[in-house]
């Protein structure tokens, strides 16, 4: 363990910028998680695998010779239907049930997805080259790949678009009504089944966008889905459901934490640090609540 980062201030800047740009991406995934959790009351362990699948879709069009940035438009469209089908096959049977059932069922889906991706795309680490070049800052001491800036920009764009859509459109209103009270919404003529399917589809589409961005900024591998699930779960429990600014802020916080953990502890402990942070956050909240004789629920 060397603490080079404290000796070189430029590394600190580098880590912070990387972390914030990465965090915006995480926040996008977490927003999908919050959406389905709030509306349908399920925790989707397969979230990260949906992200990776979206990434592989972008990677496939890259292999066909199309620029991978088009993935941010194509991948969500395909992923929306994947989500819709997934809802019709499995998720609609676990919506009203115990949360643990949804955790286990989506865990099963995650395993299936991982393995299928392993068959189709192979077990190699792949990355789609966007060839956007890099931006040098501060006398070339901080390098920032343009693809990361692009991904953060696209994430923000989509997040804003989604917020506006949720506010203005009919489906958005129906989704929000269902989230508030599914029974009342049903009585007032909202087809909740359709709303749930659309919600899950939108969530999958968000994962698709995030995946397409990950395919050009980070790397893809069939088995790296779970950390993304855990990250989004963590962001949601810190930020709360349906609080978009807080989701963005805690996403960036997580990104910062990760980059610094990477520098301080070493890359081999990066994922371990993320999972430990999850445990610590949960334990911290448990002790905070237990002072008021309450508990996390």
């Amino acid at each position: 363990m060397d603490f080079l980062i404290f000796k070189a201030p430029m590394l600190m800047v580098q880590a912070s910028l990387d972390g914030i740009l990465l965090g915006i991406l995480f926040a996008l995934i977490a927003y999908g998680m919050a959406l389905q959790w709030g509306v349908m009351n399920i925790i989707n362990i397969a979230q990260g695998d949906l992200v990776i699948l979206g990434g592989y879709i972008a990677y496939t069009i890259y292999l066909w010779g199309i620029h991978p940035a088009w993935g941010v438009i194509i991948s969500p469209i395909i992923m929306f239907f994947v989500g819709w089908i997934l809802y019709k096959l499995v998720i609609n049977k676990v919506v009203d049930r115990d949360l643990f059932i949804s955790i286990l069922a989506t865990f099963g889906i995650a395993i299936v997805f991982q393995q299928l991706m392993n068959f189709i795309f192979g077990a190699d680490v792949v990355v789609a080259q966007s060839e956007y070049g890099t931006t040098m800052l501060f006398d070339n001491s901080v390098t920032l790949p343009n693809s990361k800036i692009f991904s953060a920009f696209i994430s923000v764009l989509y997040a804003i678009a989604l917020v506006i859509y949720m506010r203005k459109s009919k489906l958005g209103r129906a989704i929000r009504a269902t989230a508030q009270n599914a029974r009342a919404a049903k009585i007032l003529g909202v087809d909740t089944e359709k709303v749930y399917a659309a919600t899950f589809g939108i969530n999958a589409a968000l994962c698709g966008i995030a995946g397409a961005l990950i395919s050009i900024t980070l790397t893809l591998h069939p088995y790296v889905g779970l950390p993304y699930t855990v990250r989004s779960f963590m962001i949601v429990i810190v930020a709360g459901l349906g609080n978009l600014p807080a989701v963005a802020v805690s996403g960036m916080g997580l990104g910062l934490f990760e980059e610094f953990a990477d520098y301080i502890l070493g890359t081999e402990f990066r994922i371990g640090a993320v999972f430990m942070l999850l445990v610590l956050i949960l334990v911290y909240r448990r002790f905070k609540l237990s002072k008021k004789r309450e508990y996390l629920k």
Partner: protein, 354 residues
């Protein structure tokens, strides 16, 4: 009453005789039988948490992996420098004598039972305060974090893995290794079963059930729920650690994420087996584990490459369509067998109401 006891006696003695004779009857399947014993132990201990206490944990894999590493480390570290062993395949330079091997594994198993239990007790207060799905996700995180961290620690082999001491070569009997691990795991199984059965007849189980059904009310009744939750988890950790220790010796090679803290396989298997058999029953996990193991061994080779797809589909199917498990289904079908009396009139009245 006496009659029932006699029936039980015949059943149990029959099972024990079968268990003792199994390695001779099916001598080609000793490794699979050992696996089966370990799987049953894991499912039964998971059932104490998930079935009886209502705390669905993915974290028992933590104790299993810990037990594995601890047994091997103690077994090596008692006689040779551990760092050198793991650094360059020490099993070639250092050779355990027969006495050293068995001493090592005895002490190792002892340690691998006690330390996970202590760790469960230490972290229990923090972790068991979480409820429902937060507990599930937190323990999932713990298991994976443990695997990732163990994969970064040099002294236990880091990412390359850790070779456990090979079975002493002086014992000429080629069957001895298989038999040794089989009987070890069978003894563990019998011990666990006796312990769990004892719990099922005790007040402790009622307290755990009270916690499952309504923890706030249980607390209001004056039960110190936290104390019992921690004790329950420590019991699980004790047996999971032992199971891990035996499994490490059997496999002969410990990898941080694929063998020890194998949340993707073992960690899910134990949940699945308990649910398949029926949560919250004594025999459910035993039956579930046996069925699952037969299914797995039978199908794994047939659908080579697709086994994880099959596993995932199986999880979804069991969880979505079969959440009560086999025992739950039997209970629905033949309630009289489970000592439940059904008022026919009452049932008819309810049917009409619908």
């Amino acid at each position: 009453m006496n009659k029932v006891k006699q029936k039980d006696l015949i059943l149990y003695s029959g099972l024990i005789i079968l268990g003792l004779a199994a390695p001779y009857l099916f001598s080609a399947f000793k490794v699979q039988l050992t696996y089966l014993c370990v799987l049953i132990v894991l499912a039964m201990t998971w059932n104490l948490q998930g079935g009886e206490m209502g705390y669905n944990t993915f974290g028992n894999i933590l104790f299993y992996g810990l037990g594995m590493y601890l047994t091997a480390s103690v077994q090596v570290g008692m006689f040779f420098p551990l760092a050198e062993w793991t650094e360059s395949g020490g099993e070639k330079t250092f050779v355990h004598t027969t006495a050293q091997y068995f001493q090592g594994i005895c002490v190792g198993l002892l340690v691998s039972a006690i330390i996970p239990a202590i760790i469960a007790g230490a972290i229990g207060y923090a972790i068991l305060g979480l409820r429902g799905h937060y507990f599930a996700i937190c323990t999932l995180g713990l298991g994976i974090a443990a695997g990732e961290i163990a994969g970064g620690i040099e002294i236990i082999g880091a990412g390359q893995g850790f070779t456990t001491p090979p079975f002493p070569a002086e014992i000429v009997d080629t069957e001895a290794r298989g038999k040794f691990f089989y009987f070890l795991s069978f003894a563990l199984l019998v011990g666990t079963f006796i312990f769990v059965k004892y719990i099922y007849g005790s007040r402790f189980r009622l307290i755990l059930n009270a916690i499952r059904d309504n923890e706030d009310k249980a607390e209001a009744m004056g039960i110190q729920t936290m104390k019992y939750k921690i004790v329950g988890w420590m019991c699980s950790a004790f047996f999971c650690g032992l199971a891990g220790g035996i499994m490490g010796g059997l496999i002969g090679y410990i990898d941080s994420t694929d063998v020890a803290f194998d949340g993707r396989e073992m960690g899910v298997f134990m949940v699945l087996m308990a649910i398949l058999g029926g949560k919250g029953t004594l025999w459910g996990p035993v039956i579930g584990a046996t069925l699952f193991h037969f299914f797995k061994e039978g199908l794994w080779t047939l659908i080579l490459g697709w086994q994880y797809v099959a596993l995932g589909v199986l999880i979804v199917v069991i969880v979505v369509y079969f959440p009560e498990g086999l025992m739950g289904w039997l209970r629905e079908k033949y309630p009289e067998r489970f000592g439940e009396v059904i008022d026919e009139k009452d049932r008819k009245a309810q049917v009409e109401l619908k």
